[in-house]
């Protein structure tokens, strides 16, 4: 049976526009792969390589991983004259950045290429190679995988014949043969469900002294595995109901009365999602585990969670999309933070870092949203420009959903640090003599202890010494 790939009608317009440019293009496909069919919601061509300083400001550095950083620092600065000459790192860097702009449920699900017949023909193995490399590298630092399929889409548009070919390739298997997929455009009523939640996090991490990972990003990646595990085991309700994973997410009444609304972005069905972490009782008591740590980390705060699934999605699909967003969003914040700052290692002391905050904007017409993570010093225009470059869309309005803790002078406000962890206590052993006293003065004491001395982004702890 031929697998169906359904593309949003905007995709058709986008391809027509690219055709008119009369150049070859490569780019990434954004969409959703479900057990039943593939959804393509957006295509974005990989932007031309640009001057080094600009690329740096756009965060083209792909991860905190020093080994890969060196390679990508020297991309081909010129656009090659043929597809088969292009550097796969160039596409990968783009894909990596795009994947950081996606809400749960949406992924970079493949590659598209636009070229004359001959160029396409000679580039076949190159395209496949890029596809494999994308799959491998994009999944490299995924701490908890929620993926159901390893298929990826390769879409090719022959600019000479205007013929479109869509195939799927199992990207986990280098020997797999491409399978043809039926490509269809979708128009008319909205076909997405938006899942939203606001999640309060308090994640303590101890970095074992035996750990060889010296960089903060590696420590975070290792440290977040456990949290990712508990998210994987979490229980999720939709509009206050616990549902069977095999059921379809929407019930009849959800669809009713929505048929006649044509403006997709207004009519998108939204479901509130609530997440519960399990607190399983262990079989048999364990002895306390004691280890020496070289560092302790706390991640504390509130994140906005958004995910999109098709109106045909099962509850299972929706659960996976939400879990994906929680874990991915957290990892992206960490990665961006560590890429942006040279975190000093091996030094004693405590610092508080302020990772970028998340904002959302609409993908035109389809009702879907994409997101971006923004540091304190970034202006709206810069963000819009980045979205334009990476996603090839004009954005008018940015929805600022999160507030940076540094935004506000009220660091001592209990709600901002509502779940202080034990690690905090290291800074203030002297106030613990009397528990009653401590309870009352806890928040104000913490407030006093924290003084903002570092520059615009990091905060140095002042010890009361």
């Amino acid at each position: 049976m031929v697998r169906l790939t359904i593309a949003d009608e905007n995709v058709e317009k986008y391809l027509e526009n690219l055709l008119r440019e009369n150049k070859w293009f490569i780019g990434v496909i954004i969409g959703q792969l479900t057990a039943q069919r593939n959804f393509v919601v957006h295509l974005t061509r990989t932007p031309d390589p640009v001057e080094d300083e600009v690329s740096e400001e756009n965060g083209e550095d792909e991860s905190g991983d020093a080994a890969t950083r060196n390679v990508t620092k020297k991309p081909d600065l010129v656009r090659p004259n043929s597809l088969d000459k292009l550097d796969e790192k160039w596409v990968y860097t783009h894909a990596k950045q795009v994947s950081r702009m996606l809400p749960g449920g949406l992924n970079v699900i493949g590659l598209f290429a636009l070229a004359p017949s001959l160029m396409l023909k000679t580039s076949q193995s190159k395209l496949k190679q890029i596809l494999y490399s994308l799959y491998k590298n994009l999944n490299k630092n995924v701490i908890v995988s929620t993926e159901t399929t390893t298929d990826r889409i390769l879409l090719q548009l022959d600019t000479s014949t205007k013929k479109l070919s869509c195939t799927t390739i199992d990207a986990s298997d280098i020997k797999s043969a491409p399978k043809p997929s039926e490509w269809k455009y979708h128009s008319g009523e909205n076909q997405w469900v938006k899942l939203t939640s606001l999640v309060n996090l308090d994640i303590p991490i101890c970095v074992s002294s035996e750990s060889k990972h010296q960089t903060l990003i590696k420590q975070l990646q290792v440290g977040l595995v456990e949290f990712g595990d508990s998210i994987k085991r979490s229980i999720i309700t939709f509009n206050g109901l616990i549902r069977e994973p095999s059921e379809s997410l929407l019930v009849l009444s959800d669809r009713k009365g929505r048929k006649d609304i044509h403006n997709a972005s207004d009519s998108i069905i939204t479901q509130d999602v609530v997440i519960y972490l399990p607190l399983e009782s262990k079989d048999g008591l364990c002895e306390p585990k004691v280890k020496t740590s070289q560092a302790t980390i706390n991640m504390i705060g509130t994140t906005v969670i958004r995910a999109f699934v098709s109106t045909k999605a099962t509850v299972r699909d929706a659960i996976e999309a939400v879990k994906m967003d929680i874990i991915r969003s957290l990892m992206i914040r960490c990665e961006l933070l560590c890429e942006e700052f040279n975190v000093t290692e091996g030094k004693q002391g405590s610092e508080v870092y302020d990772p970028p905050v998340r904002l959302f904007c609409q993908l035109p017409q389809c009702g879907l949203e994409v997101c971006d993570y923004v540091f304190q010093d970034e202006k709206q225009d810069e963000v819009k420009e980045r979205i334009k470059e990476l996603l090839d869309i004009e954005v008018e309005e940015l929805e600022e959903t999160e507030k940076s803790a540094a935004d506000d002078g009220t660091w001592s406000c209990p709600s901002s640090l509502s779940c202080m962890s034990s690690h905090q206590s290291l800074a203030a052993p002297q106030i613990s003599d009397n528990r009653h006293l401590m309870k009352a003065s806890f928040w104000t004491t913490v407030g006093c202890l924290i003084a903002v001395v570092a520059s615009w982004m990091s905060y140095q702890y002042m010890y009361d010494e």
Partner: protein, 635 residues
């Protein structure tokens, strides 16, 4: 309608036999208060507490209640009047009584507010003369304005309650820079506060997390349509195949306890408070990090009338209290320096130096002492010996007015009331649910506490026709184990034989043989393995057993241990006696070790493997020896 107060006879006896001293407020009255149709208090326990200042009341009450199932409350105070006002009490001199109370309590409202009650019970304890052993009681009801004397009724009847048990594990990590006691304690304090802050987001789930009870008392995800606690009971009754509504339960079957799990709600309402995006705190240094899973194990009792909002609050508060109690235990036992013995036991990890402090995982235990009307929940540090905990047990016995000559709160006796079988699958207390003894009118005295039924062919061991005394001995050993007298496992046949060889009673070839043992061997083994001495009763013939009535009554009333009786070629266990002084009729509650079948309580009771036997049960001509184990005096 008038306010009523009720207490069961055994609780009353426990309170009045307790050791009380001083004057003024000396303890809390723990129980339930039912506001419909009129206010009625039922007292299930008292908690002696030496220093009660009204200013510290709230914290003290919380720590008191952490020992009781969720749903129980402090409903009043134990009050010891000054000696001079005892006469006023007896004479019912209202002015004198008022004066006494005003002096002791000052403003009444400061005592009521922390308990959130409009009126409370005052259990007044006094003695005519200091040499009296038993305390006299008088009950009062105190509201904001006045103190009024009330009558107290004795009721043995336990109101139908819904029992729930919340079990969960909360992972915590405590990190300190230098491993001093101060640092560890302050790190624990902060971790406790962190958890206490999260407590409101701990929600409760039923039926494999398919139904979740949230804070406002609403059930989320409920496909079951629960509208009230009554619906929950009905649901579980149907599920367990129990007839609903029937008041008369099978007594042998412990009441079903609804299992509840706990989840951490991490989603928050938008815009409720200022929310900030995540920050990362990074501390570099050398830390000692201890991680463990806090074992939450909370019992709760609510009535069918309880609303879901109340139910949530009962569970939530009980969990909060237990978290506090678990941290208390962690904090209290960090100071235990480990000596060589601990290291040998494997409690210390290799990388810990003996001078450092370490944490013990706190462990939750539920007890049901026979002298109070409620279960008691305690937290003990894992990896400590009973000897190390003796001081703590003494304090607890005092708090609860428990007798100081028998162990009631040792870990060995914990949790058995929640089960039908002992570890290993042995049936517990097989006599529960039997019909009354055929002798009437009679004094009935039975074994006290828990034992397990040991009989032929158990443990995949064929001892048919020779092992009956061994099995009887095992039942006696189980009693000492389940009463907490010993941590030793119930000995196998071989261990019993080895013990007899070790003390020089038998030769080497006896070990591993199929030779019988008798009452004296039983007593030697009890002495050697458990340090338990025994008394003996000897009768020349079975017919003479009818004369042992009073002795057996005395034994069960003072010792309460199972008796091994050997005569001819048979050994049995006596679990109780019914004896009529008037007619001389006697009946014995026998547990028969010759049973070779499976662990089926119905067969065992119906076929008389455990049951009341009259004189005809005994061999008229055989000589009988009865081994009466004497319980050691300890706590």
């Amino acid at each position: 309608m008038a306010t009523t107060v009720s207490i069961s006879k055994k609780t009353f006896r426990t309170v009045t036999n307790g050791q009380w001293s001083g004057t003024g407020v000396q303890g809390y009255v723990v129980g339930d208060v039912d506001k419909n149709p009129s206010e009625s208090f039922s007292i299930s326990c008292v908690w002696q507490s030496k220093i009660i200042e009204s200013s510290d009341l709230k914290e003290d009450v919380e720590s008191c209640l952490s020992h009781f199932p969720g749903g129980k409350n402090v409903v009043g105070f134990v009050f010891l009047p000054s000696e001079r006002s005892v006469k006023n009490l007896i004479d019912n001199d209202q002015a004198g009584i008022d004066r006494e109370f005003e002096e002791a309590f000052d403003t009444y409202s400061v005592w009521l507010e922390p308990l959130c009650l409009a009126q409370v019970v005052i259990l007044c304890l006094f003695r005519h003369s200091p040499s009296d052993r038993e305390w006299q009681t008088m009950f009062f009801v105190m509201n904001e304005e006045s103190v009024t004397k009330v009558d107290c009724s004795f009721s043995e009847e336990v109101k139908p309650v819904i029992k729930m048990r919340v079990r969960a594990g909360i992972d915590i990590t405590v990190s300190t820079e230098s491993n001093t006691d101060d640092q560890l304690k302050s790190a624990l304090d902060y971790e406790l506060i962190r958890l206490q802050n999260q407590c409101g987001n701990f929600v409760f789930a039923f039926e494999d997390n398919t139904v979740i009870l949230e804070r406002p008392g609403s059930f989320v995800g409920s496909q079951l349509g629960w509208k009230s606690c009554r619906d929950i009971v009905k649901y579980y009754n149907e599920k367990e195949g129990r007839p609903s509504g029937t008041k008369k339960k099978n007594a042998a079957q412990p009441q079903f306890i609804i299992p509840v799990s706990m989840l951490h709600l991490i989603t928050i309402e938008p815009k409720t408070t200022l929310q900030y995006a995540p920050i990362i705190q990074h501390h570099i240094g050398t830390f000692q990090s201890t991680s463990l899973s806090l074992p939450i194990d909370v019992l709760a009792e609510v009535s069918e009338k309880t609303s879901f909002t109340e139910l949530f609050s009962v569970l939530s508060r009980a969990v909060y209290r237990q978290i506090t109690a678990l941290f208390n235990c962690l904090s209290l036992y960090t100071q235990v320096p480990y000596d060589n013995e601990c290291l040998k036991n494997g409690w210390g990890e290799v990388f810990l130096k003996p001078s450092e402090h370490k944490l013990h995982t706190p462990e939750v235990f539920h007890f049901k002492p026979h002298c109070v009307d409620t279960s008691i929940t305690l937290v003990y540090p894992k990896g400590t010996t009973e000897k190390e905990l003796e001081r703590e047990r003494l304090i607890l016995h005092n708090h609860l007015c428990l007798p100081l000559d028998q162990p009631l709160l040792r870990r060995g006796s914990a949790g058995l009331f929640l089960k039908q079988t002992a570890p290993g699958g042995y049936l517990l207390n097989t006599h529960i649910g039997l019909n009354d003894p055929p002798v009437k009118p009679a004094t009935v005295a039975l074994v006290e506490g828990y034992y397990s039924y040991h009989h032929y062919m158990q443990d995949r061991f064929d001892d048919d026709k020779w092992g009956c005394a061994y099995r009887s001995l095992q039942t006696i050993c189980s009693w000492f184990k389940y009463q907490g007298y010993t941590e030793r496992d119930i000995p196998t046949h071989r261990e019993i034989q080895q013990a007899l060889y070790d003390i020089g009673d038998k030769e080497q070839k006896f070990v591993g043989s199929r030779q019988w043992i008798g009452s004296f061997e039983v007593s030697y083994v009890l002495d050697h393995l458990l340090g338990v001495t025994s008394k003996f009763l000897t009768v020349g013939s079975g017919a003479e057993l009818s004369t042992t009535g009073q002795d057996l009554i005395n034994h069960f009333q003072t010792q309460g241990t199972p008796i091994m009786i050997g005569g001819g070629v048979l050994a049995h266990t006596i679990l109780g006696v019914a004896y009529s002084e008037v007619t001389g009729d006697i009946s014995f509650l026998i547990l028969d070790p010759h049973y070779t079948g499976g662990e089926d309580i119905k067969i065992i009771q119906d076929k008389g493997w455990c049951g009341w036997k009259d004189m005809s049960f005994w061999n008229k001509t055989a000589h009988y020896n009865l081994c009466l184990p004497q319980k050691p005096t300890l706590v």
